[in-house]
């Protein structure tokens, strides 16, 4: 008897579902709007002088929980400011094992690495998801950058920053952010 009643109940549910519009969408054709702080892939930035912002310090590689970042430090003279400074000779980020924790962004002393608002396209080979340095700099130019960088994220961690101020947001409900960090 219980089976019969439960069966009728679930038949009622499925019948209602059949009348309702479907919840899923045709993914590649129709894209849902992302929340404002949606972040997936990565990009490396240039600083205000037009030079590469990354100093090759390797803080991101050290903090990465899944150790997917490798940075090779090189020291040479800047072509723009003529000063000797650190550079990343090579920078590789393997998205296949990335946790998307954003810790690398948070620890970057020069705000050089940020995350993107759009995902990488799926590929047919594993190498398609390994971001080399040229691809990371290409992402800076070609893809919309995410909300955060190291300065903003660290400001959120600061207890002296006081009560969180709601950041101006269109798509999502007001999320708490550190004072002065939202822009």
């Amino acid at each position: 008897m219980g089976y019969l009643l439960d069966g009728l109940k679930s038949m009622w549910t499925t019948a209602l579902n059949a009348i309702r519009p479907p919840f899923t969408q045709e993914f590649p054709k129709v894209l849902r709007p992302h929340p404002e702080r949606y972040h997936t892939s990565f990009a490396l930035l240039h600083d205000e002088t037009g030079d590469e912002a990354c100093t090759g310090c390797g803080a991101c590689a050290r903090i990465c929980p899944s150790q997917v970042i490798t940075v090779k430090l090189g020291k040479r003279e800047s072509a723009i400011t003529q000063k000797k400074r650190g550079y990343a000779d090579d920078f590789t980020l393997d998205l296949t094992a990335c946790l998307v924790c954003e810790l690398c962004v948070q620890v970057c002393p020069t705000d050089a690495i940020v995350m993107l608002k759009v995902p990488e396209l799926p590929g047919f080979r594993r190498e398609d998801l390994v971001l080399s340095m040229p691809r990371l700099y290409e992402n800076e130019k070609s893809k919309p950058l995410g909300w955060s960088n190291a300065t903003k994220l660290m400001a959120m961690q600061d207890p002296k920053a006081g009560a969180a101020k709601p950041e101006p947001s269109k798509e999502t409900a007001p999320a708490p952010a550190a004072a002065g960090a939202a822009s």
Binding site: Y3, G7, S10, T13, T14, N17, A18, P22, E26
Partner: protein, 322 residues
């Protein structure tokens, strides 16, 4: 056989296979909507050519035979399942004239052929040399034997009321009187529901699909099959369900009888409607355990079927049932 009989049997086979192919699409679409999904959308307009794509994929697959399988039986079983399922369709009248095999023992023959469909299933399970396939086949046999009894009993109700075992005569009787689910409703409706339940069990569909219960038996009988041989077993299951709904609509829903228009249309419409209801059941209910399944058959369906047969016999002797 006359030319007309040949032509009508070809027509019926074409109808059944076409409806089955698009039934596949319709089932996936319906299942999708019932689970708040879209269902197939990519192949053709609104995914309409999905069955054709599925067929092409199955045909391309490599046929693999397990090393210790019984090769002859292993190859023979899947086409036979489809064949026996299709054979039943020949007996179903799709119109007053469109009945390829219009014989006087239609009802028992349909049930006999349905029982015969069990043999290739057992063949497949035995020949696979696989414990899951064998267990599935054993379950299928036990289940079909148990549910054959209520199936026969409930099919006897229209036979007793119409006074004929010829399916076309039963429909003609319903055409003259009422559809059986309409009047006498206290006989027709319970018998119809019982028949549907027993038929679902015979076709091994959810909620009676313990022979291929994925969570216990991998895929039951079809575990070792690949490519088109798997396709045949899959197809047989669909044809079995479709033909079962056709038989149920013939016996209880007035078959080709409709208020207007061509009779074939009404038959196809009723069959498809019933087919959809079966899929509605399929995507709503959970699987019964093996002992629950047997308890349902022997403790409820068989006594209820016997009572219905008795009632029908009494009813024909009353002034209203004459």
């Amino acid at each position: 056989m006359t030319l007309f009989a040949w032509l009508s049997s070809i027509l019926v086979a074409v109808i059944v296979l076409t409806v089955t192919a698009f039934g596949l699409w319709w089932e996936r679409k319906l299942a999708g909507r019932m689970q708040s999904r879209l269902g197939p959308t990519i192949v053709g307009p609104i995914g309409l050519f999905q069955p054709i794509a599925d067929l092409l994929k199955l045909v391309q697959k490599e046929p693999i035979i397990p090393q210790r399988a019984d090769r002859a039986l292993f190859w023979l079983a899947p086409p036979l399942t489809t064949l026996f399922a299709l054979l039943v369709a020949a007996l179903v009248p799709f119109g007053p004239k469109l009945a390829p095999a219009n014989i006087d023992v239609g009802v028992p023959l349909i049930i006999a052929l349905g029982g015969l469909a069990l043999i290739p299933v057992w063949m497949a399970g035995w020949a696979s040399h696989n414990k899951y396939a064998l267990l599935g086949a054993m379950r299928a046999v036990a289940q079909s034997v148990s549910y054959g009894v209520p199936l026969v009993l409930t099919a006897l109700v229209p036979v007793i009321l119409a006074g004929s075992m010829n399916l076309n005569s039963i429909v003609a009787w319903q055409h003259r009187h009422h559809w059986l689910v309409v009047w006498p409703v206290f006989l027709g409706l319970p018998a119809f529901i019982l028949f549907i339940l027993a038929m679902l069990a015979e076709a091994n569909r959810i909620p009676f699909d313990i022979p291929e219960a994925e969570s216990e038996l991998v895929a039951g009988v079809s575990t070792e099959y690949t490519g088109m041989h798997f396709g045949f077993i899959y197809l047989a299951e669909y044809v079995h369900t479709l033909v079962g709904s056709a038989v149920a609509s013939t016996l209880f829903l007035g078959g080709w009888d409709g208020p207007f228009g061509p009779s074939v249309l009404w038959m196809v419409l009723k069959t498809c409607l019933l087919f959809s209801v079966l899929y509605w059941l399929r995507w709503s209910l959970v699987r019964l355990r093996a002992d629950q399944l047997m308890a349902l058959a022997w403790k409820w369906l068989v006594p209820a079927g016997l009572a219905l047969v008795l009632l029908a016999a009494v009813w024909t002797q009353t002034p209203w049932g004459r």
